[in-house]
């Protein structure tokens, strides 16, 4: 079945094409059937392919070269640049299952959520196109095709954020996401150039039909030029900060919540934003060459996790809390990558995809049930009106704060343990570990705050903005089924990451790490392992911290023992800092946007005067020449014949001259 | 004179040249006969034919066109159509002549290719016939259309 791997991305593409061509004629039921059916087929084929792959013993994974894409020359001059080819290895297996699986659930959910929207077909075209692009991104067997997927998901993200393009804020958010990501893409592009220059190929791995040795077959090639060995990972990090919303480029992600909520769940929580994590995991052999790049990555991750968590504390919009929470969790993944624990990062990516998609869809269900109300201050007590939404959301909440036994518990603790282990070698990481531990507490606090405000206490949103009475109602079954499925996933997805010593084994690593090892095992000196006792102590610490955060939230928002407003007053310098989002947006506005505008206006005047002027001169010359030529075309055959004759004489003369 | 400059021509070549020149004698005879017939017909008809002149008959060309006057004017297309068809079919029919000449010699290595050559000519004649049918059906041969 591995030979049919190419169908996995092709089905969503066909769905997008079909709905694009006929979507407006065939009615909503057919549109939904095509969209969901194509992703379902893709998912089933993906599962099948992964199962057949697991029964195969292929160290680097299975490569399927479909056809030659870019090449030129012939014979000895032939240059092969890239082909359209797919690579299925443990890493892409996990990604395919996450993308297609969660994508399928969110397609189903969207049927109910978008039922009333105009542009229904357009929505599903974009969503299918996104699924296709993301599958290309994770399945590509070379950097160039991966970059095509990378850009396409960015495009889909832009289109979906601005789905309600008549709303100025949505259009602006789409633009912001796109432009911010361009900065990151620029880094990736330069890195690709450097890869081409140094390796002469884009292929990840060599093989018949492609390059003899791929980039990862010989990752040490650039060690001779230390600058490049550092530059390529750093440039890729720029891409990661854009796509995976890390400091300094994370500002676009909260604004991206202008898009429909299922989109936020799929693209801006579960899949696309993890593209950067995937990129580093895929290219980890290059990172292993450069400890400095890894440290940079870890620092960015830890700082992002902390900063985003603090901002999440003061948000009042349910989707924005989740958005900052996503940024923060992505920070954890990046921290894991920076600690060389690539498997841990991918593991957290997977569990996070479950519980964050769950919570976004839950939030969507809440918004749906409250007639587009997103403000936490006008919710409360929803558990009485929306029991299924509430209890599935609670599962997600417990998972993210790391309640023992749920998925987030295992993945987060794996990251913390690996960072700590790394700290035993490089003390800087101990500091990062401390920051991450603190963030765990903050995470527990803001997540509990959101849950308590929304689902517990009394309902506070009697009337909406237009003065109509609001009676919350539970969402339709088509939206609830994905919630339940995701809730189950949020509980059990972590069980493949249970350290084997807890289940009676002796190995320090878990099943998921063993599975991923061929693709992402660190090759440097990094494989720090811990005593079992140390691990248990670390786990205990993080659970305690999380419990503390959740308890504080309970005191503030559940029991009312402490007045949150008063507490905020006490810590007003901090709350103000958090509310202003650490002044990052303002910094960009003052330092970059206005300066860029100033430079741009200077360049514009330069362009107008000098370049435009010279262009005008050229245009006038060409136009003048064109008129002269036009005049020579008088329409008389005799004139034409004379021209030909003169030409013939010139050719004759030239043939003598060049003899 | 310059053409009398003596040159050394090998005897063999001289003989060859003579033979070539001899080969052209029939053509010379044919040319003479052609001229004789053309001139003879005109001369004889001048003597033998009866003369009842009209204005039209006295005009230089007896084909419906006034020979004097503007060349840039409309004229009946029929004459040119007929002339063109004549030229076309005439030229094509000339192809029969070399074919008949070599037909007898079509024998390669003991195999007779006469039937083959007949077939080839049938194809050629078929195309010619097709053109003729076309001309006919398009009524190009009818004077009073």
């Amino acid at each position: 079945m591995l030979e049919q791997l190419w169908l996995v991305p092709v089905f969503p593409l066909l769905g997008a094409v079909a709905n694009l061509a006929f979507g407006r004629q065939i009615g909503r039921t057919m549109v939904s059937l095509i969209a969901i059916g194509s992703v379902a087929l893709s998912f089933l084929l993906g599962v099948n392919a992964v199962l057949s792959f697991m029964s195969l013993s292929a160290p680097h994974g299975f490569q399927l070269r479909l056809f030659d894409w870019i090449s030129w020359g012939a014979g000895s001059n032939a240059v092969h640049v890239a082909d359209i080819g797919l690579l299925l290895d443990p890493l892409s297996s996990v990604m395919v299952l996450v993308v297609a699986g969660i994508g399928l659930l969110i397609h189903m959910y969207s049927v109910g959520y978008m039922a009333e929207e105009p542009g229904y077909a357009r929505y599903f075209v974009y969503l299918n196109l996104f699924t296709f692009s993301m599958l290309v991104l994770v399945l590509a067997n070379n950097f160039l095709l991966m970059f095509v997927g990378w850009e396409l998901v960015g495009l889909c993200s832009y289109l979906l954020i601005g789905f309600w393009f008549t709303r100025p804020s949505a259009a602006a958010a789409g633009k912001k996401a796109f432009i911010t990501n361009r900065v990151g893409d620029f880094g990736v592009l330069i890195a690709l150039f450097l890869i081409w220059v140094n390796w002469g190929t884009f292929d990840f791995f060599g093989g018949p039909g492609g390059a003899a040795t791929g980039v990862f077959d010989d990752p040490g090639r650039v060690l001779a030029t230390q600058g490049v060995a550092f530059a390529i990972p750093m440039l890729l990090i720029l891409g990661v900060t854009g796509k995976s919303a890390q400091i300094p480029l994370f500002v676009w992600l909260p604004d991206a919540m202008e898009g429909p909520t299922p989109v936020s769940a799929l693209i801006h929580a579960a899949t696309m934003v993890t593209g950067g994590v995937y990129l580093v995991a895929r290219a980890h052999l290059l990172y292993d060459q450069s400890p400095d790049a890894l440290l940079t990555l870890a620092t960015i991750g830890a700082l992002t996790a902390f900063v985003a968590a603090t901002v999440a504390v003061v948000q009042t919009d349910i989707k924005r809390v989740l958005a900052y929470s996503t940024v923060s969790q992505l920070g954890f993944m990046v921290l894991a990558l920076g600690s060389g624990a690539y498997a841990a990062a991918v593991f957290h990516l997977m569990t996070h995809a479950f519980f964050k998609a769950l919570m976004f869809l839950g939030a969507g269900s809440v918004i749906h049930g409250l007639h587009e109300q997103q403000d936490l201050r006008r919710m409360g007590g929803l558990r009485r009106y929306m029991p299924v939404t509430t209890w599935t959301f609670v599962v997600g909440w417990l998972a993210i704060i790391g309640a023992p036994g749920l998925s987030g518990f295992f993945s987060k603790d794996l990251i913390l343990a690996r960072t700590f282990a790394r700290g035993l070698i490089d003390p800087v990481y101990l500091g990062l570990y401390g920051l991450a531990l603190l963030t765990v507490g903050i995470t527990a606090f803001y997540m509990s705050r959101m849950v308590f405000l929304a689902f517990f206490g009394d309902f506070r949103g009697g009337v909406d903005d237009h003065g109509h009475a609001v009676i919350p109602h539970e969402s339709p079954v088509s939206m609830l089924v994905p919630l339940v499925v995701l809730a189950i996933g949020s509980v059990i997805a972590g069980w493949i990451g249970v350290p084997s010593f807890l289940t009676g084994g002796t190995s320090p690593v878990s099943a998921i790490e063993v599975f991923l090892a061929p693709a992402v095992a660190a090759t440097g000196v990094w494989e720090g392992t811990l005593e079992h006792l140390t691990e248990i102590v670390l786990t205990g610490m993080s659970v305690m911290v999380a419990l503390a955060g959740a308890s504080l939230a309970g005191l503030l928002y559940l029991s009312g023992a402490v007045n949150p407003v008063a507490l905020a007053m006490v810590f007003s310098p901090f709350t103000r800092l958090f509310e202003a989002r650490w002044y990052l947006d303002d910094f960009y506005r003052v330092a970059i946007v206005s300066n860029v505008a100033r430079i741009a206006s200077f360049l514009a005047s330069f362009d107008l005067a000098v370049i435009g002027g010279s262009v005008t001169v050229v245009v006038r010359t060409v136009r003048g020449a064109g008129s002269v030529l036009r005049a020579s075309q008088a329409g008389y055959v005799r004139g034409y014949a004379v021209t030909m004759l003169a030409g013939a004489f010139l050719v004759l003369a030239a043939s003598w001259a060049f003899r | 004179m310059w053409w009398e400059v003596p040159c050394q021509v090998p005897a063999e070549v001289q003989r060859e040249n003579t033979r070539v020149a001899f080969d052209y004698v029939p053509i010379l005879i044919q040319i003479l006969v052609a001229f004789a017939i053309a001139i003879g017909v005109i001369v004889i008809s001048n003597f033998v034919g009866s003369k009842r002149p009209t204005a039209a008959k006295l005009a230089p060309y007896e084909c419906g066109m006034t020979p004097v006057g503007q060349a840039w004017r409309r004229f009946p297309i029929k004459f040119f159509l007929t002339a063109m068809l004549f030229v076309l079919f005439d030229v094509e029919v000339i192809f029969f002549v070399p074919w008949t000449v070599i037909l007898r010699h079509l024998r390669v290595g003991g195999t007779d290719y006469v039937l083959f050559a007949l077939g080839e000519m049938a194809v050629f004649a078929g195309f010619l016939l097709l053109g003729y049918v076309y001309v006919w059906k398009k009524r190009a041969l009818e004077w009073e259309a």
Binding site: W69, A74, R623, L652, S655, W656 | L106
Partner: protein, 500 residues
Amino acid sequence: MMFVLPTLEWWTIAPVVILTLTGCLVLVVDLFRGDDASPEPLAWLTTGGLAIAIGTSVSLWGYEAQAAFSGMVVADNYTQYFTVLFLVIVGVTVLLSFDQLTKEDFHPGEFYSLIVFSAVGMVLMASAADLIMVFVGLELLSICLYILTGFSRRRLESEEASIKYLLLGAFASGFLLYGIALVYGSTGSTNLGCVARAINPASTFAMFGCGTGSVAGAATSGLLLAGVAMLVVGLGFKAAVVPFHMWAPDVYEGAPTAITAYMSVGAKAAAFAAIVRVFMIAFPTLSHDWSMILAILAAVTMIVGNTAAVSQQSIKRMLAYSSIAHAGYILVAVVAASQVGIASLLFYTVGYTVMNLGAFMVVILLGRRSEDHLLISDYAGLSRRHPVLAGLMALFMLSLAGIPPTVGFVGKFYIFTAAVQADYAWLAVIGLLSSVISVYYYLRVVYQMYMVDPVAGVEPVTPLRWVTVAAGVAGFAVVALGVFPHGVLALASASSTFIR
């Protein structure tokens, strides 16, 4: 008298035979049907014949090159590549002309048989292994085109164009024939392989069926150079290379639009098919002599074509000059004189066919009421009246300008790469600069369509379904070949193996 029967490998000219019979059949069927009968059966008959010929040609792909009929024609992949291209072009022309044919009292029998016979001429040009065959093919093509150009009998421009084309074409044929005679005088043969051997004893083009037809190394240089120069004139005329291009704008503008489309891609491709055969086979060792001449001609062609297009008001004239400029680009590939160059030429020919035919399809769809709506300013606001057509037209314009990710970009990239590899970097630079000029006039159409308000009183036309579909297919091909050029490029490489 000794008679040597030539080896008659009929299969080598199977497509030609099929096409000839199709043309005759169309003519006969036309004779025996009523005056008012629909021309549709004739169109189907023509298309059917073309389809069979295409099928035959495809089935001949991949065989070893075979010369036949005493070294008159050769059947190799190159022949089949061009045959299929030509016949597809003819098929599209049949589709494009149908509307005008029914509305303007064309004689369908003659129209279709002429177009099929012209296809025979093109196929013969691509398969010619002998200068005489090049001439026969070219004349067959040209004479049919002279008549087809004048088919819009009610329009004076059409007749004028036809006469102009005839007069200048005859003039050019004279040059070609004279060139062939001089080459024969110099080398003692007109077979391409024999000519090559007479010039350079080392050249081996046995596949061109030169038995003992010429004496090795016997060529005399003076006559030969003059002959080659004459061949350049004669073939350059057909391809509309400056300064033998003057006929093109007038003829393109006057001819029925479908025939203009046909000439701009079909006749041009056929001319280049013959140019490549003649110059790469017969005169490869002379390349120092002729490649510089061709390089200069290519440069002048690109510059003049692109510059003159800038000031045109009529879209057909603009496309005429644009096709002159593209002849320049293709000539650059000939100058490169390498297998890579010829492969890129073959690829570019396909790409140019797709995008130029696509542009003409849109022109035809919009100019349905006879020959109106042919000014560039008539395209104002088209994006609002016909968003799909405007989008397609914009795509074709961008592709003609050579902007990625279209086939126009990839094609130019390959051609200029080949030129640089052949040490003609200056030619590539001129090509790039002149194609910058071309962006101006191509984008002018896009500008009119998207940024200018529509002229009041222009009503939307009802697009013809099949032409619209064809334009859509062309648009798809423009992008598909631009992103995945490798399939066609592999075919092109396999077709250019006869060049060492």
